[in-house]
Symmetry: C2
Subunit: 303 residues, 2 copies
């Protein structure tokens, strides 16, 4: 399959490299890593075994890539003002656009520009980060949950699921994109912001009783808001949070992407992970006061 990767950070580089290794024609839109990857290729350091791609299709502009069958979007949402113009040159009438970006609002932008029937959304459970130019580190997990914006379990979904599975990427098709987005937010909203604000890892927040309780309390806030959205099936808070804590307790000093963004002086994905979810909660009559306070504290650090 002809695949274009827009937003080749840790996520885009990792999934793109897996898809190329399994035989697809993958095109990467690159900025920071362009020179290195063009010259010497892409090195993947993975818990499942390291590998190297010596021949990589690198582009500096989306126009160079041209139309593809699948656009995989991993762009940081703080660059969403460029999203449509970056994606547009890759989109033909049959192109599927799958955004794995964080938070809410991404499918809406794409659907408004290209039509809902071309857009899929998903969430990635992937621990990865960029190393030196030309390198990507896969530290754990890697599973994708995705679905059509329309909610259909389409033939296209099944084909993409097969594509990912053949590439060694565990995946699951869902008929409830709203729910899988909000389920991810139950983790992202407390941990991304609290880690970025305090400079403490997931492990440190969980080992310290006052912040562990705060995390749980914020998870309850997010689930209450999620269950007021158009989800096909409610999230059962207590067992869901319990499972999420067990998984998080097993992480070893994990630093969420937002914490790394703050540490390295980049902007934070506050619009998609906080502002839009708060807006949707308010619109459906649910307050998330702790989430609101966290957003205010994160915003003041963006100056």
């Amino acid at each position: 399959m002809q695949i274009g990767i827009i937003g080749a950070g840790a996520l885009g580089l990792y999934y793109g490299s897996m898809l190329q290794r399994s035989g697809n024609q993958v095109h990467f839109l690159l900025r920071r890593d362009y020179e290195t990857i063009s010259a010497v290729g892409l090195k993947v350091f993975s818990i499942n075994g390291d590998f190297c791609l010596t021949e990589v299709n690198c582009s500096k502009t989306a126009a160079e890539i041209g139309k593809v069958e699948l656009v995989l979007v991993g762009l940081k949402t703080f660059s969403n003002q460029d999203l449509i113009e970056l994606v547009r040159p890759l989109v033909g009438t049959e192109t599927a656009i799958l955004t794995l970006q964080n938070g809410l609002g991404n499918e809406d932008l794409l659907a408004a520009a290209f039509g809902a029937e071309q857009v899929l959304g998903g969430v990635a459970f992937l621990c990865s980060n960029r190393g030196l130019p030309g390198e990507v580190h896969h530290l754990g997990e890697g599973r994708i949950r995705f679905g059509e914006v329309t909610g259909a379990i389409s033939e296209r979904c099944q084909q993409l699921a097969k594509l990912f599975a053949e590439a060694g990427i565990p995946c699951e098709v869902s008929d409830d994109l709203t729910r899988i987005r909000w389920e991810k937010l139950v983790w992202n909203i407390p941990f991304n912001g609290l880690c970025a604000l305090t400079g403490k890892s997931v492990t440190e927040l969980l080992l310290h009783a006052p912040t562990r309780q705060l995390v749980v309390s914020m998870m309850h806030e997010v689930i209450s808001a999620a269950n007021r959205q158009q989800v096909k099936c409610q999230i059962d808070a207590v067992p869901f949070i319990e499972r999420m804590l067990i998984a998080s307790d097993a992480m070893t000093d994990y630093q969420p992407s937002m914490m790394i963004d703050r540490l390295e002086g980049r902007p934070l994905e506050l619009e998609s992970i906080y502002r839009i979810p708060l807006e949707r909660a308010t619109a459906t009559g649910t307050a998330m006061p702790q989430v609101d306070m966290l957003l205010r504290l994160l915003l003041v650090g963006e100056n």
Copy 2:
């Protein structure tokens, strides 16, 4: 008057020096500044005019000071485990003990050890900080509000008010120590913690709309809790907050003591400024959820 200063930080050094300059026999319990002040005296850099005390009674232990007529306590409350043993050698049957420490619980500790009739409490509106050893900087204000733990407007109160006035320290006697303590907390609870947590000054928090709104919302929380305490007169939230914001807007990039404590790696006064007020609010049926969240975020940074 024979006066002993326990806790000779910025507050103790400044008020002690003013009281000595106006003719009192002031004894300072010193640690960091002992060598310098013993050798060359204490330099006061004040907005009201600089001055220097060349002869200062310096002690390394409270026992050396012995009994005095007034003990002025400026100890950081994170050292309150030492409070009683530091104060005890200075206390005779007629000694007045005035604590100007931050937050709640200080008078209670002193009253339990020495009897409520010997203890007064107060709040200082003082912008000051320590410079090099042997120096103290008075940047603004300086007013004290104080009263008897018993609530009486005693003759002793009047005498102390005269003592302060003669020393050039504006002061006001109150028959409602609980109220003046909580009124101070309306400022300290939002600003001390938010500045310490975010590393932003009072001015920065107020110029940024999301945190300005958060400050106001937390002030409302504190006033609601204050009005459930045994205060003789309720705090009228809207005009009180408006006055407090006007005063705070006039500050020039002021860094509260807790922010400086965090920046310089000292512990924070979380017990007296947050934990005990939260406990008293809970005991009187008022929740302070934003204050509670702030305390949790500050606590995790203490590790």
